[in-house]
């Protein structure tokens, strides 16, 4: 991938390397999944919800607390809140995919798809730059929100489909 032309922005390669570190998130989620008691979808729900809540508290609570209570209005606070919703779905996706990955009895044709989806989830922060390359300009505001919501929803649908087909075998027909 060509390097980003604007001064002060890292090249795509650097960004890629930096985002690869987020695989640690996957490791962490695996550890949490193994420790949560329960079975099936409740485990996924607990892990995903807990992770998203922690992410919300640590990342978005402070800007909202400091900024949104002032006299001035800014659309960015609405965008932060909607982004929190999207990241909830994203973390649920991630929990589901990690759980599916570690299932021993996952059907072999499905494993590569799961791997690709996992990688896509991990590299999600690169989305604005990819869009900037595709469309020419970096999307901001609500367009950025819509742009990050779409892949998340798609991933959610595909992951849940895999989950359903996987657990269908465990349900009595």
């Amino acid at each position: 991938m060509a390097g980003s032309p604007a001064a002060g922005r890292n090249t795509c390669a650097e960004e890629l390397v930096k985002t690869t570190v987020d695989f640690g998130d996957v490791m962490g989620m695996s550890v949490v999944l193994s420790r949560v008691p329960g079975a099936g979808h409740i485990k996924v729900l607990i892990t995903g919800l807990g992770w998203a809540a922690a992410d919300l508290l640590l990342t978005r609570a402070l800007p909202l607390w400091v900024g949104a209570r002032g006299l001035e209005f800014d659309w960015k606070y609405i965008q932060i809140s909607l982004d929190a919703n999207i990241s909830l779905v994203h973390h649920l996706n991630l929990a589901l995919l990690v759980w599916l990955w570690w299932r021993a009895d996952l059907a072999p044709p499905v494993r590569p798809i799961t791997a690709v989806l996992l990688a896509a989830c991990v590299y999600r922060p690169l989305l604005p730059q990819v869009l900037a390359l595709l469309l020419g300009s970096r999307p901001v505001g609500f367009t950025l929100l819509a742009a990050s919501a779409t892949p998340t929803l798609c991933t959610a649908l595909i992951a849940s489909h895999i989950f359903i087909t996987h657990t269908a075998g465990q349900r009595s027909a």
Partner: protein, 607 residues
């Protein structure tokens, strides 16, 4: 100590309810952070009370304003210093309880009075970057607006600020926002009013209160003549060093009276050299007075006269040739000598006045009475000869000097020129100024900035005054005396000028025993004169003639706010969104089974 299960139990049962109550409470009670769109320094209008009579009568006189109070106070300026209202532009329809933003060139006295009657809460005036670049018409308008603002007092808070890009942006936004009255349709107008940014103008801080124990300082110095000091006559040179303007922090007073102070300091410098050498030590005393409170009816001169005339132990003013007051000499090609009264027949100058032919009268003593050329004018003798000296020196330098005679009106409470205070005590005095009349409006305006001064003209005027004085004192033409440091140079004039105009000099800003400007001037006079000292005067405790208020400068914050209807709509939108999410969650099991059913045909097919 608690097991995991117990903790989970506690959290599950109590935390949600606590949060429902605690979180809104926390949000409501915590202090709102200050994070403004723009913050800038603003200067407040003057606020002062003067002892009375706008009505022309001494109190108590049963007028409705005073209503039985023992003293009649006329307030001036703005009485309020705290603001927290929305912004509107000058041409908005209703400005009641709003802050009006206006540019200085758009404001007229009519507009100002209209804003007061309509009940505007505040007014912010934007000053152009270059105050000297105004046209003649605008200049005159600004002087009129200043006079209108200071004439009476108002509850409206008035602030002045320098135009910056940020401020101009806010001004334009407010102007276009209030012009939606001319929108095409009702729906468009409503959408417009809902979505445009309004601005909330906030000036925090406390309400202004009067400056307690405000002091006005006089700085005086003396050069003693050759001989017994008490028996020698005196020439007093006086200049008031304070300035005035619509806003105290903008009162630079470059011409009025920075120029007067500069000329006085130059005279002190030159004469200190002449008095130092025994060859040139004249037989008369020179007294220098930098009087404070010039714009509050020359309080400094009044106190100086009380100290030296009423108190019998001071011989300084026992015999004065004249008092030369300097006021506004900074530019122009002519000087005017303002005098108050014609001499009576029994004045000392009478014998001199009688000699109408051109007789040269000289005496041996250099300090004694003389006149090189009798001009037949009807004025007091020392005034006459100093005037002729001035006239001739002026003609040599290329400027015209004329005498302007204006009677003192004893009915008036305030004196127009400083020399009138001395004339009222029967001392011969005059004021030298470039102005035609005392109330031209140019004195005491914020437009009197250092750029308006012509330093070359000021140097020339200072040179004319110096040489006229030298001529009068030494009874000789002074060509040839201007060498080895006795000449008035533009460099030294510039340095005095930069010193005096480096800060605003409105009377309330010069209050206090350790004011740096007063200390500085005292040091300068100590260097050049003997017995230089500072006298502080205060207003009378029980019946003060002048009262000033503080809060001359504040920080104004402009917050970009949306109208209340917008907040309501936004809340409705968020509630609708949350409702949709709730409904989705309620129906999730159904959606799940539908997805399972969609997925299972593949399974049944495989089977």
């Amino acid at each position: 100590m608690w097991s995991d299960q117990d903790l989970v139990e506690v959290l599950r049962s109590s935390v949600p309810y606590c949060l429902v109550v605690a979180l809104p409470l926390l949000i409501l009670l915590s202090p709102v952070p200050v994070d403004a769109a723009a913050e800038f320094t603003v200067f407040r209008l003057q606020q002062y009370d003067l002892h009375g009579s706008a009505h022309g009568k001494a109190p108590p006189h049963g007028c409705l304003v005073c209503l039985g109070q023992p003293v009649c106070y006329v307030g001036h300026g703005s009485r309020s210093s705290v603001v927290n209202v929305e912004a509107r532009s000058l041409d908005a329809g209703s400005v009641a309880r709003r802050c009006v933003l206006a540019r200085l060139v758009d404001l007229t006295p009519g507009h100002y009075h209209r804003l007061i009657t309509q009940g505007a809460a505040a007014l912010l005036i934007l000053l152009p970057v270059n105050l000297t670049a105004l046209t003649q018409e605008h200049h005159q308008l600004v002087l009129e607006v200043e006079a209108a603002m200071l004439e009476a007092d108002t509850q409206m808070a008035v602030f002045l600020a320098h135009e910056t890009l940020e401020l101009l942006h806010i001004y334009e936004a407010v102007r276009t926002a209030t012009n939606t009255d001319a929108a095409t349709s009702a729906a468009a107008a409503m959408m417009g009013s809902l979505s445009t940014d309004g601005y909330q103008i906030v000036v925090a801080g406390s309400q202004s209160k009067l400056v307690a124990d405000m002091t006005v300082a006089n700085i005086q110095g003396k050069l003693s003549g050759y001989g017994v000091e008490e028996q020698l006559p005196t020439i007093a040179i006086v200049a008031h060093y304070d300035a005035f303007g619509a806003a105290p922090e903008l009162a630079r007073g470059a011409d009025s009276n920075g120029s007067g102070v500069v000329v006085l300091l130059e005279l002190a410098r030159i004469f200190s050299r002449l008095y130092a050498s025994p060859r040139t030590h004249p037989r008369l005393n020179l007294a220098f007075l930098l009087s404070g409170g010039g714009y509050i009816n020359y309080q400094g001169s009044k106190r100086f006269l009380e100290d030296h005339l009423d108190a019998s132990d001071s011989p300084l003013l026992s015999e004065t040739h004249y008092t030369l007051c300097l006021d506004t000499l900074g530019s122009g090609h002519s000087l005017r000598l303002h005098v108050s009264k014609r001499p009576k027949d029994s004045s000392p100058g009478h014998h001199f006045y009688q000699a109408r032919t051109s007789i040269h009268i000289q005496t041996d003593l250099p300090g004694g009475p003389h006149c090189l050329r009798h001009s037949g004018r009807t004025a007091a003798r020392p005034v006459c000869c100093s005037f002729t000296a001035l006239e001739e020196e002026g003609a040599k330098a290329g400027i015209s000097v004329e005498m302007v005679h204006r009677k003192i009106n004893l009915q008036e409470d305030t004196q127009a020129w400083e020399h009138e205070k001395y004339s009222m005590r029967r001392l011969p005095a005059f004021t030298l100024s470039r102005l035609q009349g005392p109330r031209s409006g140019e004195r005491g305006s914020i437009l009197d900035t250092p750029d308006t001064i012509d330093l070359a003209a000021l140097t020339r005027n200072a040179a004319v005054v110096t040489s006229a004085l030298l001529r009068h004192i030494y009874n000789t033409s002074v060509d040839g005396i201007f060498d080895d440091g006795l000449a008035v140079t533009e460099k030294s004039v510039r340095s005095w000028f930069d010193l005096i105009t480096s800060q605003p000099r409105s009377p309330q800003l010069l209050s206090g025993k350790n004011n740096p400007l007063v200390t500085n001037l005292h040091q300068i006079l100590t260097r050049y004169t003997n017995e230089a000292r500072v006298t502080y005067l205060k207003a009378d405790k029980r019946d003060p003639e002048w009262v000033f208020y503080d809060v001359t400068q504040a920080t104004m914050a402009a917050y970009a706010v949306k109208p209340a209807a917008f907040d309501f709509l936004l809340t409705m939108g968020i509630l609708a969104y949350l409702g949709v999410i709730y409904v989705f969650l309620q129906f999730f099991p159904k959606i799940y089974t539908m997805m399972v059913r969609l997925a299972s045909p593949h399974k049944t097919k495989a089977h």
